[in-house]
């Protein structure tokens, strides 16, 4: 069962992965220190498929793409937050990490609750309580990038298609 990990407001990219670990960018190495400043046990306890549920301004601060890389490396399947900082939001999509804005989910979860996220329907389900929370749907072109697994696989797919058509996308 995928579990929810609940965090507060203003979780910065320094919280997600601290500056001193940015000497390399291997997602598995970064994952060892993910969320360390906020919850030192998170990295060892998080399981593949778990979801972060947070408050306002998640991912504020540095543009380091190491932050979504570390979350993905740790197996985090999605982040649901009341709001996101702009650069993190874009980086997460580019890394193929679903990020959903839900004004109501934060209050409906406690750490350890079961969670299911339906990105295309824009729904966050607390499988422990049975309650369903609405999330803002993502624009189609961002959904396409997520479906491909991130911007790089998306560009590769597009390139393959366009090359066949005799023109280049990138």
């Amino acid at each position: 069962m995928a579990r929810a990990w609940v965090f507060g407001d203003n979780i910065s990219t320094d919280d997600i992965i601290a500056g001193r670990y940015l000497v390399q960018h291997d997602p598995r190495e970064l994952a060892k220190h993910v969320m360390e400043a906020v919850d030192p046990e998170f990295a060892s306890k998080v399981r593949a498929g778990d979801v972060i549920v947070a408050g306002r301004n998640f991912g504020c601060g540095s543009s380091r793409e190491h932050a979504p890389m570390a979350l993905k490396g740790a197996g985090v399947a999605a982040v649901v937050a009341t709001s996101f900082a702009r650069i993190f939001f874009r980086n997460a999509i580019n890394q193929g990490l679903p990020v959903l804005v839900s004004k109501e989910a934060k209050e409906g979860f406690r750490t350890g609750d079961g969670i299911r996220v339906d990105v295309s329907r824009g729904e966050v389900i607390n499988t422990s309580t049975g309650k369903v929370y609405r999330a803002e749907p993502l624009p189609d072109f961002l959904m396409e990038i997520l479906r491909a697994g991130g911007l790089l696989p998306y560009l590769k797919e597009m390139r393959g298609k366009e090359v066949r058509k005799g023109q280049s996308v990138i």
Binding site: N10, N57, R64, H66, S83, N91
Partner: protein
Amino acid sequence: MAMTIAEKILARASGRQRVSPGEIVEARIDVAMINDITGPITVEALEQIGVEEVWDPSRVVIVLDHQAPSTSIEASREHSKLRRFAAQNKIRNFFDVGEGICHQVLPERGFALPGELVVGADSHTCTYGAFGCFATGIGSTDMAAVFATGKLWFRVPESMLVKVEGRLGRRVTPKDAILKMVGDIGADGATYRSIEFSGSGMSRIGIGGRMTMCNMGVEMGAKTAIVPADEVTEAYLRGRARWKYRAVNSDQGASYVEEREYDLSRLEPQVALPHNVDRVRPVREVAGVKVDQAFLGSCTNGRLEDLIEAAKILKGRRIAPGVRMLVVPASREIYLEALKKGVLQKFVEAGAVVGSPSCAACMGGHIGILGPGEVCISSSNRNFRGRMGSPEAEVYLGSPATVAASALKGEITDPRDV
């Protein structure tokens, strides 16, 4: 239809007559920058998608500044990767260890120009807005798309007007002004927006102070922060600008989602308390908090006028016993000027450590890393938990004058009291 400066720049860059907030546009990039933290991921992304050449080497700038000089074998490996990439792509605008912080180096070398669209793989890229350009931070993978195509998609931001009037008092600085604004507007109060600074108070602030203010636009969530170009901008750019540019300004009647006004003459020195940039109070309310370290530097406040302001306070005196003070000029140009003017000597005589140009203590990965329970007063831009080292350390953000006064007394001190 009347447009703001941000809308005009995006309209020009996307080849349209007009754009409106909320629209998605694909725009041509004038300058694209990577550094030693974000750049290696961009380079690997380009390898993965099989792009062998950047779209225009003359528009790409690479700066090694965060872990400079290198702090580890891993960081050295990342540096080598970028040196090889620059050589292979014939990127001449490559600034190696010691040249300075990207956000200081680009303006000094004339890459931040009025009316242009600049992207950098660093959140503080908004600093360049001080030159009347639309400058914004992006991630490494988005940057790979820019390096490959010279273009990127943008959501046209809503604009927010901040009118600045009045004159700063003695030992009150542009940093205090921006800290006050961050406190009022909040860490996410300008998310996705373009902040536009205007007013007679703004025209009296020098280019360095404008950079300090635009630098912290992102601490309110802003996509960019802009000061339209004027004589101050032109004077700085003379002899520096890389190419011809066309300055633009907001139209009369352009629409803003929010307007605010500040009177600089009523402002007093401010600090941001741990661990949020928007927990801002007047310095006098927290005066007396003991400090272990004082850091003067960063892309926010590592410029010559910042060093001079601090040196005036320290001149002929010693910092308090038990306090470490780190002074790190933001670029080689500043370092040299400060050296010639005898400013660095004053710091060394006062008991401070002077480092080579880099991001230094700001990101907690280079020098001056804080231990558990330690307190730092810093002229940088972020005081997040763990930002400068241990998650149990505390960082207060203040002006160069507040940093110097606090180092002198060993506790947070209003610079008007020393």
